[in-house]
């Protein structure tokens, strides 16, 4: 067969990312690129569409009866909260757009899962409480956060997922208009309390999602873009 002589590097890299053949390090780098380069993200999406055709060769297998009830339980909300949550979800989805999708897609598993995520209840404070559970890409909880938009009090409760990682976790806000904003370096092992002031406190009240990137020790990324891989993310919800 004749071989193409010129390989479009971006196109090939997008294909490798979609096929998932890259090493963990190269994949993390490519996911960052996907999150920050819309043209590259479109390439990856196109490759996903092409490669999904392989699924035509996979025979369907009926799931057990017990799977749907577990899914249904996972999406259950109190009946009187349905309308508000639905509204919130529409608003969040509609306003985060491509960036939030990219941030979620960029979340990659770099840490070994711990058997039991810690469930932490939010502290009783006055004001509008916003909460988020940040999950790794495999769905395992990495951290729960609670934020009081009136007082600016921020409470972080990491699970054991980030313990032992030599990199420094940094917390990010994903804003409704699509940008991200650095909150700062956080403790990835123990619970901690912070107080957000100034513009940051207002932004935290509006953020639609939060995310954690892992940065090299001693390095502080720019306020609007992580340099290390984003390992966890979660939507902000009002209590």
């Amino acid at each position: 067969m004749t071989e193409p002589t010129d390989i479009n590097e971006d196109e090939a890299l997008a294909g490798e990312l979609a096929l998932r053949v890259l090493s963990p390090e190269a994949e993390a780098e490519a996911r960052l690129r996907e999150a920050n380069d819309p043209a590259f993200a479109v390439e990856v999406e196109a490759w996903n569409a092409h490669l999904a055709i392989f699924a035509a060769d996979i025979a369907p297998v009926e799931p057990s009866q017990g799977v749907w009830p577990r899914i249904a339980a996972g999406i259950a909300t109190p009946a009187n909260d349905n309308a508000r949550l639905t509204f919130w979800r529409r608003w969040a989805v509609g306003s985060t757009g491509l960036l939030a999708a990219s941030v979620a897609a960029m979340a990659i598993l770099l840490m070994q899962p711990a058997p039991a995520p810690v469930v932490v209840s939010a502290p009783a404070e006055s004001g509008v409480m916003r909460v988020a559970t940040l999950s790794l890409d495999n769905g395992i909880s990495a951290m729960t956060i609670a934020y009081d938009s009136v007082t600016g009090a921020l409470y972080l409760a990491p699970t054991h997922e980030m313990a032992g990682d030599t990199r420094v976790p940094h917390l990010w806000l994903v804003m409704p208009e699509g940008g991200v904003q650095l909150v700062g370096a956080i403790d990835g092992t123990n619970t901690s309390r912070h107080n957000l002031t100034g513009a940051l406190s207002g932004m935290a009240g509006q953020a639609v999602s939060v995310a954690v990137s892992m940065e090299t020790p001693g390095h502080t990324p720019g306020a609007a873009r992580p340099d290390g891989p984003v390992v966890a993310s979660g939507q902000m919800q009002q209590l």
Binding site: A12, L22, A59, V67, G74, Q112
Partner: protein
Amino acid sequence: MTTLLTRDQLAYALGMTGQGDRAAFRTVYLATSAKLLGVCLRILADRQIAEDVLQETYLTVWKKAGSFDASRASPITWLVTIARNRAIDRLRATAKFRKSTPVDAANEIVDDAVLPSETIERDDDARRLHGCLDQLDEKVGGVIRTAFMEGATYDSLATRENVPLGTMKSWIRRGLLRLRTCLEQ
């Protein structure tokens, strides 16, 4: 129990799911869960783990359905991509606990694979895919297929085929680009 839906019907149900419609979500599940479990099972080879990942997949679908854009992606492609990525993430997360790569076990799985000739040959997608794979070197088509079906990385494919990593990369990169050119025709 699988419900047969046209692409448009599925896209509509997925769109309604994005608006929080639980009945539509149930419809999406009934129409696609068997296919997605097939995808997960192909990668994870353990029914319990595959069903666990299937559950995670649909919870992700519920959360992300609002971002599905029917004008840009086919609904089944969108769903397969989520399921496959979830399954590969799980595979790689659990692989860290294994002492060695189960090459023999993996080869057995390959042998158990449903042969293309035994499956939905009349399916347009499958026919198109096989037409394009046939244009590739047999070995190259085989490793790309294995990479998709099992979530294998360059490293593990090079080890299995006993070729240098650089050779494997070159095979797959060139093969992918040829495959895409063919599929786009």
